[in-house]
């Protein structure tokens, strides 16, 4: 591992829990439903994190525990069965139902794995019922996706074929684009996980080579490895360089001729660099502070430093998987501070002391920082926006340049 300084911090945190992942997972798999078994707080959290964007009929809900459920556990299981039955009668189009564990359901030890098993036999193949934990005592923010995908892995059919599998939720347009590029390289057997329909699971097996598209899929990667798949080692496909190295990792593993790779990628790279230029002018030399939230912090920092010339004050991450992050950390400059965990007050003190030009943070912190004169970017935007791949590099940079541009427009004398 290179010369990054890896630190740990404990204290009060300001990070969403894993339930939040539902907000994008339910859009990815429209035939799935996410039922949180939790409290009014859990229901309120997803509602608030979804930005009060009320969908026609949301594909998520909460079975809110009430006083009488806490009295006896047998009761809670019966109640859950009743709620699930009601839900599935109301919504016959649901094909996969995720029972999502929360802090309260874990503390009072409602066994959702058992509940899923029981319900599966009751619904007898019409609906698949799975479970995972999105609780805030076990998971942060994006780890919810890891849990959901991990729960799907046992259902993936077996395959011995040599194939490429992209793992992690992407915007559909971005995913199509990446697949087109791989096809140009002659990699034709290619699939993605999670699929766009929960029932159309891709296959996996010893011939499967996996490219992770998101950095927070630690557990999913592990169980896929257990199915015989190989996780290709690469940085994540953010920015021109990250995406190039990521694509090349697959090309190498599929024995694609390097000249074909160069021929295919070179025009894209030239075009992307050209599009990046105006943003680099804005970002170059600016001081960036990333507060821990989405686990995308390290790849983002790498792109913004390496390709956009930003100065990294600190990279916060809720959790650091050193093995998975190695290719990323190797690309970071010497002595970069990576802080795992959080003491939100002390981190904010450092943001002020080091006079960050741009702070990447959670939604609760952004406006207070803006009020102190800092430009900010919401972490959650990165998990919703199409930012992956060479073609998206300029769009990604723009997301960070925009707050700075706005700041300058509104405060023309301050620089």
């Amino acid at each position: 591992m290179s010369g990054a300084t890896l630190l740990k911090e404990t204290g009060p945190k300001e990070v969403f829990c894993g339930l939040t992942s539902i907000v994008w997972l339910h859009r990815r798999m429209p035939d799935a439903f996410f039922l949180v078994v939790g409290s009014r707080t859990c229901a309120h959290l997803i509602q608030s994190a979804a930005g009060v964007m009320i969908f026609a009929e949301p594909r998520f809900g909460t079975a809110i525990l009430e006083e009488r459920d806490l009295a006896g556990l047998a009761d809670a299981h019966e109640e859950l069965d009743r709620v699930v039955k009601n839900l599935l009668t109301r919504r016959p189009e649901i094909r996969t139902l995720f029972l999502v564990g929360s802090c309260p359901s874990e503390v009072i030890k409602i066994d959702l794995a058992r509940a899923a098993e029981r319900l599966n036999s009751q619904f007898n193949g019409k609906v698949t019922i799975l479970n995972y934990s999105g609780s805030g005592i076990e998971t942060t923010f994006t780890q919810g996706e890891d849990g959901a995908l991990k729960a799907l892995v046992p259902l993936m059919p077996e395959s011995q074929h040599k194939q490429l599998l992209l793992v992690g939720t992407l915007a559909n347009a971005v995913e199509d684009r990446l697949i087109t590029i791989f096809k140009r390289l002659g990699i034709n057997k290619i699939d993605s996980f999670p699929p766009r329909q929960s029932t159309q699971l891709p296959s996996v097996g010893p011939g499967t080579k996996i490219l992770l598209t998101q950095p927070y899929l630690t557990d999913t990667a592990r169980v896929l490895k257990d199915r015989g798949a190989e996780i290709l080692e690469a940085p994540f496909p953010l920015g021109v360089e990250g995406s190039r190295l990521w694509i090349e990792a697959a090309a190498k593993s599929f024995g694609v001729n390097q000249s074909l790779v160069d021929e295919t990628l070179e025009p894209l790279i030239i075009r992307a660099r050209k599009a990046l230029k105006p943003y680099i002018e804005k970002l170059n030399g600016k001081k960036l502070f990333l507060l821990p939230e989405s686990q995308l912090e390290i790849p983002l920092a790498r792109f913004l430093q390496m390709e956009c010339g930003m100065e990294l004050l600190e990279i916060g991450t809720p959790y650091l998987n050193r093995e998975m992050m190695k290719p990323e950390i190797d690309l970071l400059p010497e002595n970069v501070r990576i802080v795992e965990g959080q003491h939100v007050e002390k981190q904010l003190d450092r943001v002020r002391e080091k006079k960050a030009d741009l702070v990447v943070c959670g939604m609760g912190l952004a406006n207070p920082l803006e009020a102190e004169g800092f430009s900010t970017k919401w972490s959650i935007e990165m998990v919703f926006s199409p930012i992956h791949g060479i073609d998206q590099a300029a769009d990604l940079a723009e997301l960070f340049a925009r707050p700075l541009i706005r700041h300058d427009l509104l405060n023309p004398t301050s620089h």
């Binding site: 309120h44 009060v52 109640e79």
Partner: protein
């Protein structure tokens, strides 16, 4: 177990946060897991506030549960007191902490601090947000007034006369995340001062613990939002003999009644003439010929108790609408809402299930819905205009301009807010009729886009039809799109698609290219960015 897709109220500790965040000098230590910190965004994003709520979360994790969570709690209390130096400390727990029974409130009290500490016990599995807010306010007031000379049984709301000063009252109940509270209190303050009545304390919004200790210096209390302040008002009456007002001054009639009630309590000389004629435009506007089309409009009302009840009176008595449905999610105010419904010969809908509300709307097919943000969405699906009158709210319910609901100006605001969606509905209808006139085909749309009726989908469809008609008239010299290019283009969000199409064609012409595929589109995108 209760199945919910969306909820009107958060858990009770959110109510407590509303009180803590509304006040100055109060800090709240909340024993809660990390995910519960989402609550900050309610204040910093929905209210668009530049300050974090004064809350320290203990953010305990599963691995802490085996160990000493009590020590963890104490550590956070210590740090919070040192860092924020509050004048009063609230200590409580969220739903998960309630289950592990650390009793953070008692722990805090045992730590030997001088400042007042209020131990909040808010049962998370049976109560909700408004109840939590009311209970927190009440506990805080009671805690701070504990050592205050207990009985003033001889308290007279007319003391101001013998003391030779102006009468003064407290305004109780406004809080953050309450509907338009910020502006309501300005309006009420203005009205009272016009009648020679001073304000002693406004709380909880902007009040400090020291202000709460001064509450007893008022002659009477004005209960503006019973959801938050009624329990406190009742206690102040019982303990100190302070009477409080029951009328909520929303609408012209209610404002008039409110003024009369305050005068009666304070034994002030009754205002002789009704003020409304000079003060509010609602009365004249709804009498004017332009309002004829409002006659008998069928409205459905749903919201918190206070706003739903007020809305019914305005709709029925001041605008000449016909109320065809009314309900609330505030179980605490179910009785009052039921009796209003009865007067209107309706049955009140008391529910926390927005789907049930949507069903009820469908059932009575109103022409206007007055509801919360959720009814706004339901109404949009049903194609009915809607105005938002109550929490839970959205960033758009926190307008930059002055827009109270209470008092004379509040009545004006309400007239505009309710009547505009109806007019827009009319306009929308006309646009539908004239859709094929060329003037309307350049993407013109009514303001209803955000309020009801037309949805993004129809807008997209509309711009698609426009595009199609352009396509059929396409001049020969323009480069043409391959089907792959069209597919790429269709992936671009509809609201910028037109611009991208134009730019791409311009670019294609510049480079002398006749056929636009996906690559050209991306080239063009990059070209115009650079």
């Amino acid at each position: 177990m209760e199945l919910t897709l969306w909820t009107y109220e958060g858990p009770p500790h959110i109510g407590a946060m509303r009180i803590a965040s509304s006040m100055k000098g109060v800090h709240y230590v909340l024993h809660a897991p990390q995910g519960d910190t989402y609550a900050d965004l309610l204040f910093t994003m929905i209210e668009r506030r530049g300050k974090r709520p004064p809350v320290t979360y203990t953010t305990f994790q599963a691995r802490d549960l085996g160990g000493d969570t009590a020590e963890l709690v104490k550590g956070h209390i210590r740090e919070a007191v040192e860092r924020f130096q509050p004048d009063a400390l609230l200590v409580g727990e969220s739903c998960t902490a309630e289950l592990i029974q650390d009793q953070p409130g008692s722990l805090a009290k045992g730590m030997g601090y001088e400042i007042p500490i209020v131990n909040l016990e808010l049962p998370a599995y049976s109560k909700k947000e408004n109840w939590g807010g009311a209970e927190t306010f009440y506990q805080l007031v009671r805690g701070l007034l504990k050592n205050h000379s207990q009985n003033q049984p001889d308290h007279k709301p007319t003391a101001w006369k013998s003391e030779g000063r102006r009468p003064r009252v407290n305004l109780l109940g406004p809080s953050l995340l309450g509907f338009r509270c910020r502006d309501d209190i300005l309006e009420i303050q203005k009205i009272l001062s016009q009648h020679g009545i001073d304000i002693n304390v406004i709380a909880p919004l902007e009040a400090s613990p020291a202000d709460l200790i001064r509450l007893t210096k008022a002659d009477a209390n004005v209960c503006l939002y019973p959801e938050i302040a009624e329990s406190t008002c009742i206690w102040l009456e019982r303990t100190f003999g302070h009477p409080y007002t029951k009328t909520i001054p929303i609408g012209v009639g209610a404002t008039q009644d409110f003024i009369e009630e305050v005068h009666k309590i304070l034994e002030l000389d009754f205002p002789t003439a009704k003020e409304e004629i000079d003060q509010s435009r609602l009365t004249w506007y709804s009498n004017s010929v332009d309002s004829n089309y409002l006659t008998g409009k069928r409205v459905f009302i749903f919201g918190d108790g206070t706003h739903a009840i007020s809305a019914a009176r305005i709709a029925d008595k001041e605008l000449g609408f016909k109320v065809v449905g009314i309900g609330t999610y505030s179980r605490e105010m179910a009785r009052q809402v039921r009796s209003v419904a009865k007067e209107l010969e309706l049955e009140a809908l008391i529910t926390n299930d927005y789907l049930e509300v949507e069903e009820a709307i469908k059932e009575c097919a109103p022409e206007l819905v007055l509801g919360t943000q959720m009814e706004r969405h339901s109404a949009k699906r049903l194609g009915i205009p809607c105005a938002v009158i109550s929490t839970p709210m959205h960033v758009q319910d926190v307008p930059a301009r002055y827009s109270p609901q209470m008092g004379w100006e509040g009545a004006n605001v309400i007239f505009d807010d309710w009547v505009h969606p109806l007019m827009m509905g009319l306009e929308e209808h006309l646009i539908g009729m004239f859709r094929h006139d060329f003037e309307f085909t350049d993407g013109h749309q009514s303001h209803l886009g955000h309020v009801g009726g037309s949805t993004k989908e129809t807008e997209a469809a509309q711009s698609q039809t426009i595009q199609d008609s352009i396509d059929s008239n396409r001049a020969d010299h323009l480069p043409c799109w391959t089907s792959e290019g069209e597919i790429e283009l269709s992936k671009i969000p509809f609201f910028v698609r037109g611009k991208v199409r134009k730019n791409t064609e311009k670019y294609a012409r510049q480079i002398g290219c006749q056929e636009i595929d996906g690559e050209i589109l991306l080239d063009a995108k990059a070209h115009f960015k650079a």
